[in-house]
């Protein structure tokens, strides 16, 4: 049976599917409406959502919470990234960053896996900078504004770059490593 990935975001699902394939972990989407908690930590949000989801689904599953933490904005939009994106878009973030010299930002991803034994979380981060303007059409969300350290391109300009460096890949790989060992042990 495929492992359930709780997400309503088809971009996230496609990314996870492609990364987990290398670990022979096959996934299926699950769509449940879970009330998320408010917390400054992606790991804490993911953990609480996984607990709530398991109470309803009663099947092993995983989910992800991600956020963009911009240093000059005291961590905004952080764990509220997808909500802030839906309201303000990349245009809003660029406005907030107009004329700001320190453009450091960090993408964080937290995967929470839950089964009858409880929750395990796995995190990944990708350091980078906020671009001066939106560039590229690939990916989703803040990808057109995020330039990972060591690159001059945004995630939205280079899908391969994102696939290699992304916060989500790092968290998913930690999770996949642990999960495949667990499956082998049976």
């Amino acid at each position: 049976m495929n492992l359930l990935f709780l997400t309503g975001n088809q971009h996230k699902f496609a990314e996870a599917k492609s990364i987990l394939k290398a670990y022979d972990v096959k996934i299926s989407p699950l769509n449940l409406n879970i009330e998320e908690i408010r917390s400054e930590s992606c790991a804490r949000v993911a953990e609480a959502s996984a607990q709530s989801a398991y109470e309803r689904a009663r099947k092993p599953l995983f989910l992800e919470d991600a956020g963009l933490f911009v240093k000059a904005l005291n961590g905004f939009p952080g764990t509220y990234s997808s909500w802030a994106f839906s309201r303000l878009g990349n245009k809003g973030l660029l406005r907030l960053m107009r004329g700001v010299e320190n453009r450091s930002a960090k993408f964080v991803s937290a995967i929470a896996y839950v089964d009858s034994k409880g929750v395990r979380t796995f995190t990944g981060a990708c350091e980078g900078e906020i671009a001066l303007s939106a560039r590229g059409k690939k990916g989703f969300g803040y990808d057109p504004l995020f330039i990972p350290k060591g690159s001059r391109k945004t995630f939205a300009q280079d899908a391969e770059l994102k696939k290699q460096l992304s916060h989500r890949r790092k968290a998913l790989e930690k999770f996949a490593h642990w999960y495949s060992l667990k499956m082998k042990k049976g």
Copy 2:
């Protein structure tokens, strides 16, 4: 015994105390750390928080959730107002509104009262506009940016204006009216 008002915000407490005095409702502050839910509705946030608070305190109490909903920003910062304020301040909101013609905004307040019989919510709203720059030193939060309809001053420039027109006053008066009747009935 004084009625408990769950808040960590001393400005809110002072406002509520002064408004409820006219209804002979005396209040005491209660400080509990309640994990708020995410919702677009202040009433829904207040209701859920009141339920959680009652599970812990087991005493009749009320609390308030408030937010500033800016039309041109699709309701941002809404129910996340105090969080967004802590990250971006009034400066951030002004940046987001730079050059924006439609400056309509609405302050919303939702009071939730809870006792052994359940939760009752009372809402109030105040329509207005976002100023072109911060003005005044009274009040708190977004008050220096909010000009209520019919006025040329911000809430932070005129405490009396705020006391008369505020969203919080409207919600508190509805609540106080209901609560004092309930107390008379015994």
